[in-house]
């Protein structure tokens, strides 16, 4: 396998593995928890290092995952006091743990190569140098296997507990009533997030884990209302982000992980603008159409109300209409033109009158709105 192919493979696996738990973070409005965990695992690594004095020890990973869970737990404790809001609890816990980590590093590990940069930033380009050798055979980069393990664990958890996760995510109270213990599922999910973050930061660096975890699910959230479809779409979008990011990086010879994050942003932007039903364009179009429909109805009701009244000339005059509705001239003209074209109104010496058709439509709509 060529290094290029290996890098892409790692990127795709990591992206898919990250996006799966990310879906639940986004749906449960806990996206920033991933950011929090990516910072605090530094403390876990530092503490693990002090215990083992070995930078390649698996205890570092274990320590990091444990601190990730501890972060969630501490945040919950603060949150449960009801003295501060959830986002504030996150914002208190992780800077504190991160500061302690930095202080420990500068005070006691200054001479060791425990670079905060390498933890926070990460570089995918170096992943193929670290080989997995079994019985003397080189069977590919180590990161492929660790990422694969991560993906399998995530998939297994989500498939096994899909029903529980679904209930806990959308209706925690119902799930408690049904006896699902939301807390258990919650911590299971958080353990998964913590593990995924730790597993992924080696490859892509911790800040960009957030992009991988939150980007694809947020994009998919704009495209579907179905949880299963959202999981599939997130995985797909994650994979696309990974591969296209790699080629962007090769093209400009820049940071691979960085360009993957940039692609995540670009693809989100495209979907955000063009998504059917929920995209910016279609929502703007819908809003302007609704505004038009509403205004047409309002005008018809208005005319119906003042039909034959003594100040009809005032209320329904083509020149005074805008003042009554706080509409500007252009908008008034537009509405009147539309209604004329639909033959709901007619002009009688600068006074707008309902046609027979307009009267019946206005009446019908009034009944539809206000009768039971």
């Amino acid at each position: 396998m060529s290094p290029q192919f290996e890098i892409q493979l790692i990127a795709v696996i990591v992206a898919v593995a990250c996006s799966l738990p990310g879906v639940f973070l986004v749906l449960r409005k806990m996206s920033m928890m991933s950011d929090s965990i990516t910072h605090t695992i530094l403390l876990g690594i530092v503490l693990g290092f002090f215990l083992t004095h070995d930078l390649s020890s698996p205890f570092l990973i274990a320590g990091a995952a444990l601190i990730g869970l501890a972060t969630v737990w501490l945040t919950e404790i603060l949150n449960r006091t009801k003295l501060l809001s959830e986002d504030a609890s996150i914002g208190i816990v992780f800077p504190l743990l991160f500061s302690i980590a930095i202080i420990l590093i500068t005070k006691y590990a200054g001479s060791v190569h425990l670079d905060t940069d390498s933890v926070l930033l990460g570089e995918l380009a170096f992943a193929p140098f670290n080989r997995m050798v079994v019985f003397g055979y080189d069977i590919g980069a180590k990161a492929i296997y660790s990422a694969m393990a991560l993906l399998v664990v995530n998939l297994a958890f989500i498939i096994t507990f899909f029903k529980e996760l679904k209930v806990v995510t959308f209706d925690p109270v119902l799930s408690a009533v049904l006896g699902f213990t939301p807390a258990l599922i919650h911590y299971g999910l958080m353990a998964l997030v913590s593990l995924t973050t730790v597993g992924a930061f080696e490859a892509v660096g911790s800040v960009l884990v957030v992009a991988f975890m939150i980007g694809p699910p947020t994009t998919a959230y704009l495209l579907t209302d179905n949880l299963k479809r959202m999981l599939f779409l997130s995985a797909l979008i994650g994979a696309v982000n990974g591969i296209s990011g790699f080629y962007l990086a090769v093209l400009f010879d820049v940071s691979i992980a960085g360009s993957m994050a940039v692609m995540t942003g670009l693809i989100f932007l495209i979907v955000f603008v063009t998504a059917p039903n929920r995209g910016l364009l279609s929502s703007l179009r819908r809003r302007s159409r609704q505004k038009l429909e509403f205004s047409k109805k309002t005008l018809l009701f208005h005319l119906y109300n003042h039909e034959g009244s003594e100040n009809e000339a005032q209320e329904a005059g083509i020149h005074t209409l805008g003042v009554h509705f706080h509409w500007d001239t252009a908008f008034t003209d537009k509405i009147v033109r539309y209604l004329l074209k639909e033959k709901y109104i007619m002009l009688d010496k600068d006074i707008i009158k309902l046609t027979e058709q307009g009267r019946s439509i206005s009446n019908a709509e009034y009944n539809a709105l206000f009768s039971d």
């Binding site: 986004v26 005070k107 800040v207």
Partner: protein, 307 residues
């Protein structure tokens, strides 16, 4: 005692402590608004999003002047904020997801630009990253002046729009119905918060800035229910932790300033949450125990089930 006395007369210490105190004060004031609007993590997001701006400013001007880099940071921080606000406004995506997404994408863009700059021959880009990750000990007197000027402007704006902000953060719907331009107020407030964050980047760095924004106001919130007292207390807590953090870091070998400030302000938060009168946990527990005793004595031997 003597060391502290000498320290207080030390010029570098004075500069750094003053800078940290100003930052603590400003972030205390504006952080209160961010925390009350439940947007306290904006600090974290914007400070990460400043990276591409810093690198772009360096690429375009070639200078590593503080003001130039800060301007770049400010622009990209504001852009990120605008993105977040419009994503939330125009779709069903929640604030936290939008924040996490925009922040990580901007940071990724910053990394891309940084690696791109590194390839340009003869470009002395070293130090850009340190700028983002902050180093209070490198604060110069002119940086402090700069902070002070920005601070005066921000405080003046806060006073000027006090009534509007107050109305907006507590009841934005009501503000809208009274005819206040809610969207513009939201933008103005966000811009002011971004300003503070960018000023703070240099002192405590990207990651710790969010603590500076949140912690003082959360601590202050426990002691009072009045906005103006909360803001004043929060400014006070911020300034105190700035000064004491700098002091601790000067007196102890190899203790970085930013993290020291954060640890001190976090301690203030913990003390406030535990001991604040009326809201504090200790008083709540004592109150509950009293109530239990009372119910027990009135209800005979029966064990009163906890509610």
């Amino acid at each position: 005692m003597e060391t502290i006395f000498y320290l207080l007369k030390d010029y570098t210490f004075q500069t750094v402590a003053l800078g940290s105190a100003i930052l603590g004060l400003l972030s205390g004031v504006l952080g209160s608004f961010a925390v009350l609007r439940k947007q306290s993590l904006l600090g974290d997001g914007v400070s990460h999003a400043a990276l591409p701006g810093v690198v772009m400013a360096f690429v375009m001007t070639g200078s590593k002047n503080t003001e130039v880099l800060l301007l770049g940071a400010l622009i990209s921080g504001l852009m990120a904020t605008l993105f977040i606000i419009s994503i939330v406004k125009h779709s069903r995506i929640k604030f936290d997801s939008a924040l996490a997404l925009v922040m990580s994408v901007f940071f990724g863009l910053g990394l891309v630009l940084l690696t791109y700059v590194q390839k340009i021959p003869n470009s002395n880009q070293a130090g850009l990253k340190r700028f983002i990750f902050g180093q209070a000990s490198t604060l110069l007197q002119r940086d402090v002046y700069f902070m002070a000027i920005c601070g005066v402007i921000l405080l003046a704006l806060t006073l000027l729009f006090w009534k509007e902000f107050k109305l907006y953060i507590f009841d934005s719907e009501y503000a809208k119905s009274l005819g206040f331009p809610a969207h513009k107020l939201n933008l103005l407030l966000s811009f002011m918060i971004v300003m503070v964050i960018i000023i703070g980047l240099q002192t405590v760095g990207v990651i710790l800035m969010s603590a500076m924004l949140i912690a003082p106001s959360v601590a202050a919130r426990q002691w009072t229910n009045k906005l103006w007292i909360m803001v004043v207390l929060s400014a006070l807590f911020g300034a105190i932790s700035g000064i004491f953090g700098t002091m601790a870091s000067s007196l102890t070998a190899k203790l970085p300033t930013g993290p020291a400030i954060v640890v001190i302000i976090s301690c203030i938060v913990i003390i406030s949450v535990l001991f604040a009168p009326g809201r504090g946990i200790v008083q709540k527990i004592a109150h509950r125990n009293n109530l239990k005793q009372l119910l027990k004595s009135e209800g005979g031997d029966r064990n009163v089930p906890t509610i």
